[in-house]
Symmetry: C2
Subunit: 374 residues, 2 copies
């Protein structure tokens, strides 16, 4: 991806953006603006850019009408605009209600996809990627990511800066946020196998240097933890405070998570920590709800409440204000398995949303570590 | 905002993007690329665009050094690059570790901000907005949003299409997703009061036409529900299944949510619904975990478990596969208050993430309605 532009619903500005994009790239992918309302201008803009008329496609017209028949609703006349295509364009059948299309200009291939994420994604993988593979001919790009927890972007860079600085093919890039850094290693070669042969030794070198901070496996932290749980037929229960449900939401983001995720006790109030998660009120009184002791008791209470093999927890101060005299960013997480409980304190930073994301990361990573026997 | 471009860490491409942006706009705001690593090229790119050298700023140098002294860590020499500014630029003091700056070219004002969201936001509101207000002189833009639940974007448009089509000042725009549509009404005028006088009658007209689907109040659904709860000194407890914790996460997203949010029982497994949320196992057996009866029992169980005034729940099938013979997108939500329980079934669509977001919307909206006495 060489460039990415966002432009408002204005015909002249969209045409100008298309012109600039077609000058610098061989393929221009446009998303959005294919709906039936008057601010949906992508069809008109691409036709104007090409200097060609719009024509109503008979087959698309039938498809648009069929969607409304299926819903048992009258079709507003404006919806027939969705069957219009610039002359010479090939339709991509609708996944929801909006069809996409692609068309060649003198200099570039233009692809128009709906803005609704899942409609765009289905057309991208079903039609656009094969089309691009065909157009690109031989050659492949392969990327692998290494997930880093417990080291910031600067600290990660200090350890592998020479690899980054001497980079050519493969290249290395950082993507950081929420207490995680992803190091992406990308190579181009004549084939996917050849690209992998360039990527793999660099991935091994980065993993060796980062040691314990590099999470083994690929995917998100929740996916990695989920695979470890499924592999040993184990389940996880959570008790969370400052994260408000985000640990549970992340563990259940992927289909099939019911194989390992039992549930989460979101104990936002202090009384819920004792009454719902069974934390000894004495612990809450002596050490406070934001304490290592509370985190340990929450993890143990979660495992017990759900009858789960692994218990995870996070408690802390999301901010911006302090709580119980503890500053924003204070985070305690814990994990328990087979009667052994481990805990970790970290100092989160950034805004409320980043502090909560860092707490999620710390709890999931502790779960991964305790299953790895660390 | 007239245009928005994303460009990789490549000096030549960044300079080309700056040139195009400065041609079409009076102010160009750049985010990211101000860190200490070699892929941070914004300083060099703006200097190259201006045809001016970079100079090390003595005061910034002291500030960068002070950050590391405070952390008690040695400063890598590369970090001093963060004190370099194009000749003629004015520094914006760092919020985290990266300073920002602004500088005038012949044709435009260029502003460079760090990419870390909260650092960017602090500089934007603290320095950039006042700077732009000063440059813009008289005149104001005012926007208001109307939150719509229970009607899709097309259905909303059918009701107010004539207002959208005759638009000039104010303009109307739709932002849709996760079962919510926001209708944004924006006017420009010589003063904020004059702009508000243009916006307000249109907002009233849109609300009148949309009736019950337009949520009274401003802000997110969680903020609106939170204000209703705080106003009557009430609290809310949640029991959620397919949403995995997202209802709790949304209710606790804003600071101060502990005034009204007690917690959430995320009962992902069927056994957790009875053992943790106290749903009668007979209900789960007869009607299933994905049923209106289960949703009602979950809401009531949540209110009881947390000792909360209001109980909310959502159960359903996030997909992509079916569950208990019910198709992906099946959603039941319920709300309970003072011994009265209401429930709603909706058919979610789109991918797993959108179905979950629609379930969150339905549950929060039911909570809002039951507090409104509906």
């Amino acid at each position: 991806v060489f460039g990415h532009s966002v432009v408002g619903d204005n015909l002249e500005r969209i045409v100008r953006t298309l012109r600039a994009a077609a000058r610098r790239a061989d393929v221009v992918v446009v998303t959005g603006g294919l709906g039936p309302t008057p601010d949906d201008l992508t069809r008109e803009a691409i036709a104007a850019f090409l200097g060609r008329p719009l024509r109503r496609d008979a087959e698309l017209e039938q498809r648009v009408k069929a969607v409304f028949e299926r819903l048992g609703r009258p079709m507003p006349a404006a919806n027939l605009r969705q069957a219009d295509l610039p002359k010479g364009a090939t339709a991509i059948p609708p996944v929801g209600t909006a069809p996409g299309f692609y068309v060649h200009s003198d200099s570039a291939l233009l692809v128009a996809l709906p803005g609704v994420p899942w409609e765009m994604e289905a057309m991208l993988s079903g039609t656009v990627v094969p089309l691009l593979r065909g157009a690109a001919g031989a050659g492949a790009i392969v990327s692998r990511e290494i997930l880093v927890v417990g080291l910031g972007e600067s600290a990660t860079h200090e350890i592998i800066s020479d690899l980054v600085e001497r980079q050519g093919n493969p290249t290395l890039a950082y993507l950081a946020g929420g207490g995680r850094v992803r190091v992406r290693v990308t190579a181009k070669a004549v084939s996917a196998d050849a690209a992998r042969a360039l990527v793999d030794p660099v991935v091994r070198e980065v993993r060796a240097r980062l040691g314990d901070a590099a999470v083994p496996g690929e995917g998100t932290l929740a996916q990695i933890l989920g695979r470890l749980l499924v592999a040993r037929g184990a389940t996880v229960g959570v008790a969370e405070s400052l994260t408000g449900g985000l640990i549970g939401a992340e563990l259940s983001a992927e289909p099939g998570s019911s194989r390992f995720f039992s549930g989460s006790l979101v104990c936002y109030s202090t009384s819920a920590k004792s009454e719902v998660a069974g934390v000894d009120p004495g612990v809450l009184e002596r050490a406070g709800a934001v304490s290592e002791q509370a985190a340990r008791a929450l993890a143990e209470g979660a495992a017990k409440a759900f009858g789960a093999d692994v218990g995870l927890s996070a408690t802390g101060v999301a901010g911006p204000g302090e709580h119980e005299g503890k500053p924003a960013g204070t985070i305690f997480a814990a994990a328990t398995l087979d009667g052994r409980t481990v805990a970790q304190a970290i100092r989160g930073y950034g805004d409320r949303s980043n502090v909560r994301a860092m707490a999620v990361t710390t709890a999931l990573d502790l779960g991964r570590r305790i299953l790895d026997g660390r």
